[in-house]
């Protein structure tokens, strides 16, 4: 691990950690939340920024069942569709932590990449695991990032356009996240305070993903 970090540092990929809180809002009340976020976040005078992304998750399974599969998330922007920017993201296992820590924490590497990354991953032996589209709004307050987005299931693989998508739920996912160098616990408190201001509209919580997979 030590070695990976030093390599990463050399290539300007700092070991970052993502602090995360998640929740959701019913579509009916989404505009109220957007309005509140617009007031709370930076650039209140501008219209909220929108985004529309296509995410493909690639998995490399170990030879034996005991080995954990490695996942990479490739994301490209669909907005504008003619010049998509690509990036690849690795997410570590989420640590739920104890009561003193208010957010999920997980290792997070974000790297911008070229559009042949899918081909490259396939050559490496990665296989597409699943994919989805995510569309919504994006706010920031200082280094905190807030997204309010809908998740769309792809009916047909590989070609994300309006006809081949269906919304997963009648709710939008709300995520509050900060990517920061490791060991900055202060940020979790800031996020907690911010999340408090969105109550009772949205309950932003640290959601244990392992618990969800059991259900």
């Amino acid at each position: 691990m030590e070695n990976t970090f030093s390599v990463g540092l050399k290539n300007n990929i700092a070991p970052q950690q993502e602090y995360l809180l998640q929740g959701s809002i019913v579509d009916l009340h989404r505009d109220v939340l957007l309005h509140r976020l617009r007031g709370l976040c930076d650039n209140a005078d501008k219209q909220p920024e929108t985004f529309s992304d296509h995410e493909m998750v690639f998995v490399l399974r170990g030879a034996t069942a005991q080995q954990n599969p490695v996942l990479f998330r490739v994301r490209r922007s669909l907005d504008p569709p003619d010049d998509p920017s690509w990036h690849i993201r690795y997410l570590g296992t989420s640590e739920i932590g104890d009561k003193n820590r208010h957010t999920l924490v997980r290792a997070c590497f974000d790297v911008a990449c070229s559009n042949n990354v899918v081909k490259f991953l396939n050559e490496m032996g990665f296989r597409s695991d699943h994919e989805y589209c995510v569309k919504g709004y994006f706010f920031h307050k200082g280094r905190m990032k807030v997204t309010v987005s809908k998740i769309y299931r792809m009916v047909q693989t590989g070609t994300p356009d309006g006809n081949t998508q269906e919304a997963m739920t009648q709710s939008s996912l709300v995520e509050l996240s900060v990517v920061a160098p490791a060991g900055q616990e202060q940020i979790a408190d800031d996020m907690k305070n911010f999340a408090e201001q969105l109550k009772p509209l949205v309950q932003l919580e640290k959601v244990d993903q392992k618990r969800l997979s059991v259900q």
Partner: protein, 243 residues
């Protein structure tokens, strides 16, 4: 008799003081209305009204009190009327009344309503007497019915408002925990996103005939079969087979 007179004497002082209070309150309110109307706000208005009303209340309490003999038992009559200016009177009334003459006395010492008002009252009295008791009872019942109806309406509105305000404090459900979980499971583990490609795969295996049926509505199934063949070809001729 002596005692009663003494009582009257002392209570008159009380009454005068109370009346003076009301007069002062009114005067200051009028002064405010005339000079500070630009800056006067509603709360101050209400304060002034409350002050006057409380002064009136205390006056009527004094009048109703035990210590005051029934004032209606006393008669007041003018002893002397003169058309000349009376300095003493002007001083007593703070310059409002200069003479006690034939013109002002009927107004100030009036014990009956004005004749027009009296006529009107009499009219109403005769009208009230002309109604038969049956009719009166009927009208009474009607009025009672109407008032109770209005009361009901008001009460139902109040309930509605109460519910409204309760709902406002309760807040409608704006987020759903199960949907949160669905969404998070989807983006973190692909739960529900992968399902579609797996379903046709399963139905493909038991019977090859099914494949053709599901070809059109589920193009994913079709793709799956082509992937399958390429894997087979790849695994045979690949120079770097994976372990």
């Amino acid at each position: 008799m002596q005692k009663e007179e003494k009582q009257l004497e002392s209570s008159l002082a009380d009454i005068t003081a109370k009346v003076a209070d009301i007069k002062n309150a009114l005067a200051s309110f009028l002064y405010k209305l005339e000079n500070e109307f630009a800056t006067l706000n509603w709360p101050t208005m209400l304060d002034n009204f409350a002050l006057i009303s409380s002064n009136m209340n205390s006056l009527s309490r004094v009048l109703r009190g035990d210590k005051i003999p029934a004032l209606r038992n006393f008669t007041l009559f003018p002893v002397l009327l003169s058309p000349d200016t009376d300095q003493e009177l002007a001083k007593l009334t703070e310059g409002r009344l200069f003479m006690c003459n034939h013109e002002v006395v009927p107004d100030y010492l009036r014990t009956k309503p004005e004749t027009e008002v009296e006529d009107k009252i009499n009219q109403l009295h005769t009208k009230a007497n002309s109604i038969t008791s049956d009719n009166a009872q009927k009208q009474l019942n009607n009025l009672n019915k109407i008032t109770s109806n209005i009361l009901d309406i008001i009460n139902s509105y109040r309930e509605e408002w109460d519910n409204d305000s309760k709902q406002k404090t309760q807040q409608p459900q704006t987020s759903s925990q199960s949907e949160t979980n669905t969404l998070i499971a989807a983006i973190s583990m692909g739960k529900g996103l992968r399902l579609q490609s797996q379903m046709p795969q399963q139905s493909q295996q038991p019977s090859p005939g099914m494949q053709q049926q599901s070809q059109k509505p589920m193009p994913v199934g079709k793709m799956q079969s082509s992937v399958k063949t390429t894997i087979r070809a790849g695994s045979a001729g690949h120079p770097y087979p994976r372990p």
